[in-house]
Symmetry: C2
Subunit: 452 residues, 2 copies
């Protein structure tokens, strides 16, 4: 059995490993158009910041390690076409320039996402970058050697992680965001503001409601960003305005693309085309809270989908249970996390949701390292079912307790279930009533009040 995997990062390599474990007799081949496989793309900002020594440290397994497990790895091989009827792919070897047609029994499309480059960013100017893969990171590293002023376009989590990184390397940093606030897709407005305050408090300039119109350059290098609110000088510009799923190949195979714009699959990661699977950032998943299809490209999800696809392609039977919308990031000392739905997302879906905002301390209030922690907890008004939570704290790790809410969302838990949890307590870890319990108590009273 020949299992062909297109894309060798998170989903692709997880699938390859799993398929091999499931069926050691299978012929598993991974085609990767780039030069690296199996790396932690989420770590890229931290190499630039120095928290990780080198880009090489992000690589979990080398091609030789994969080959030693019997997995074929072809670097700089781009799969440019699929004939699902004939069960073949067309592959171009970028080293030789030659293309070939190869057969498959099962095909996995794990082509990931590409960073969006708006028209103004389609430029030959030096010093203008996106950050998706290791070569992008290396190019930014080279640009930073002489740079003094950075503009980051886009106030999502990658932009905000980079803002810390570049500021801590001594650059002056301006974040330009089109929307009214930073972290716009992740948090409700009040919590977005807390994130912005952390960045501004550390000396990063944030310009929201600002649209980039063009770039200025001199001698082939970028010199500034022209916005609808004036020119911002810059030696280096990072474009972090979002990503777009790479669905060309899936489309060529005849696979259905979902309304989200990503590849539609069933719970076994099968596309609408027999024998063709899709996994990773290019693929939709099911949101367990709303039961809708969503496109939330994140590392853990990609790995999970890859495992499921790998098992199934090799003859096993695995299913992907979907996501609850958990995400987390750090910028400077601040951690921000969310799971489930924000109040604004719930509103947009027409759910009758109610939220409470609680501020407490992450450790016992009297304990030396305690910092304020802010939690918004959201539930369905009539049923009391938990819908989501948002957390912000200046001890970044303290927001990882969002996972308790994620656990409850999986079981469609209620506010009262959260309140009854026997959470661990000692002063260096939390208050006697962990902030999550305080929020649950407050929210259950709020729900009770409205029902009376």
């Amino acid at each position: 059995m020949r299992i062909v995997i297109v894309g060798g990062v998170a989903a692709g390599m997880s699938a390859a490993s799993r398929a091999m474990r499931q069926n050691p007799e299978a012929d598993v081949v991974v085609y990767e158009r780039g030069e690296y496989i199996s790396y932690g793309a989420c770590g890229l900002p931290y190499v630039l910041g120095g928290d990780v020594d080198s880009f090489g440290d992000l690589i979990a397994r080398t091609p030789d390690q994969m080959r030693a497990r019997g997995i074929g790895v072809r670097l700089r091989h781009e799969v440019t076409g699929v004939d699902a009827g004939a069960s073949t792919i067309t592959v171009v070897d970028h080293a030789s320039g030659r293309s070939a047609v190869e057969p498959y029994d099962k095909l996995l499309i794990a082509t990931g996402v590409s960073a969006i480059r708006p028209d103004w960013a389609q430029t030959e100017l030096g010093g203008v970058h996106v950050l998706r893969d290791i070569p992008d990171g290396q190019a930014i590293e080279a640009s930073l050697q002489k740079a003094k002023r950075a503009v980051i376009v886009g106030g999502g989590y990658i932009g905000l992680e980079l803002a810390e990184t570049l500021h801590c390397r001594g650059l002056s940093v301006v974040v330009v965001e089109k929307g009214p606030e930073v972290a716009g897709r992740m948090l409700d407005r009040d919590y977005q503001r807390r994130v912005r305050a952390e960045l501004e408090g550390n000396g990063v300039e944030i310009r929201c409601g600002t649209t980039v119109e063009s770039l200025t350059g001199k001698g082939g290098h970028v010199t500034g960003v022209q916005t609808d609110h004036g020119l911002i000088r810059a030696d280096v510009v990072i474009v972090a305005v979002g990503v777009r799923p790479n669905v060309g190949l899936a489309r060529a195979a005849g696979a259905r693309i979902g309304k989200t714009g990503a590849v539609a699959v069933n719970i076994r990661q099968e596309t609408s085309v027999e024998g063709v699977y899709s996994a990773g950032d290019n693929t939709e998943s099911t949101h367990r809270v709303t039961r809708r299809r969503v496109h939330i490209p994140l590392g853990l999800t990609a790995n999970r989908m890859g495992r499921v696809a790998g098992v199934n392609m090799a003859g096993g039977d695995a299913t992907f249970p979907g996501v609850v919308g958990s995400s987390i990031f750090k910028t400077f000392a601040l951690g921000a996390a969310r799971t489930g739905l924000t109040q604004s997302e719930a509103d947009a879906l027409g759910l009758k949701a109610v939220s409470v905002d609680v501020s407490s301390t992450d450790h016992a209030g009297y304990y030396a390292t305690a910092k304020p922690i802010y939690v918004r907890l959201t539930a369905e008004r009539v049923t009391g079912r938990l819908l989501g939570a948002q957390l912000v704290c200046n001890n970044h790790e303290s927001v990882k307790r969002v996972d308790v809410i994620a656990a409850l969302l999986h079981g469609r838990g209620k506010v009262q279930d959260l309140f009854e949890m026997d959470l661990s307590y000692a002063p260096p870890f939390s208050g006697v009533w962990d902030v999550l319990l305080v929020a649950a108590d407050r929210l259950s009273r709020e729900i009770g009040k409205k029902q009376e």
Copy 2:
């Protein structure tokens, strides 16, 4: 309606506040034999260590603040008797020495625990202490002024918290433990050893399997601890060998004492005697994993029980859902946490349990601040139901993720449920597969293997 509460710390004051909120017309009186109410006893080691500025910082609410809410507070008033037939108590005012008989409609016994003082510790020698309340803490503080050598008798979490504290204050510290390892009641053997290694690595001497026989003294002050393995010199000795529930008053009221030695109650915190409630460290609770009655005196549990008792005494209807056995502590950089059952506890109960041990990193392996984290995950072999987890890590806060397991135990979740959790991921917070997910994956394979 007259609600009388005996004991003004965690359970008692929670009950008083809740009763008042439930029924603002009620006459709520708290009798506290000591001089302080409403303080965080769990914070005592941290005042001695300097992480908390003063003992006063541990006080959540003063008697005046409680009185301003309409709650009567009588300090240095000891309730010495109960006549449940007549619905009266006998109270001694330690200021005047006078005693009085007072009526009640509802009575709450929240008398807590006392530190055990073995025979050898029944001494008049100066420098010998237990640590249960603020005066104990103040006495230790006074003893520490001139002390150079400390012996802590008992390697439970209070002893180990104090070991860090006293070592960091410059004392040489020896921990003497009768059992074969430290943290004996909390963790399985391998995890106990990791805790000991942390203490020893920091210069604390640990002597396990060592029994104290007597104390030596000179000029009225302790000079050493005589053990079955020789004499250990000491200027200060802290006795932290455990606690015993204060059940004398409950017994006098005719209330049933459970097999655990603590007061037996139903889910409304009612004792076997009409109109008499019990809450807090002197009281049993139900373990949700084993469905047995247990006595696990901890701060959150005490607060919860107090709330439930307060609501019910004032005419409301609340129930206490029980515990899952979560606890957590820090010593030096190390955090240790557990929830549910350890493998040895499961074995002792005759459960067919299986555990896996996983070591990973708390943050992404390549991230600068990542430390090894060790997890033991335990499940019922046949059903795959989760039974418990133990975590140890040298970034102490990273073990707070034990709460995810606690959340699952409440819902009697399975290993597969844990594996499917959409836990939050970014490199400064965890690996892409959080160590809990890695453990769940490993354990589900282990269970599958044995079933084949």
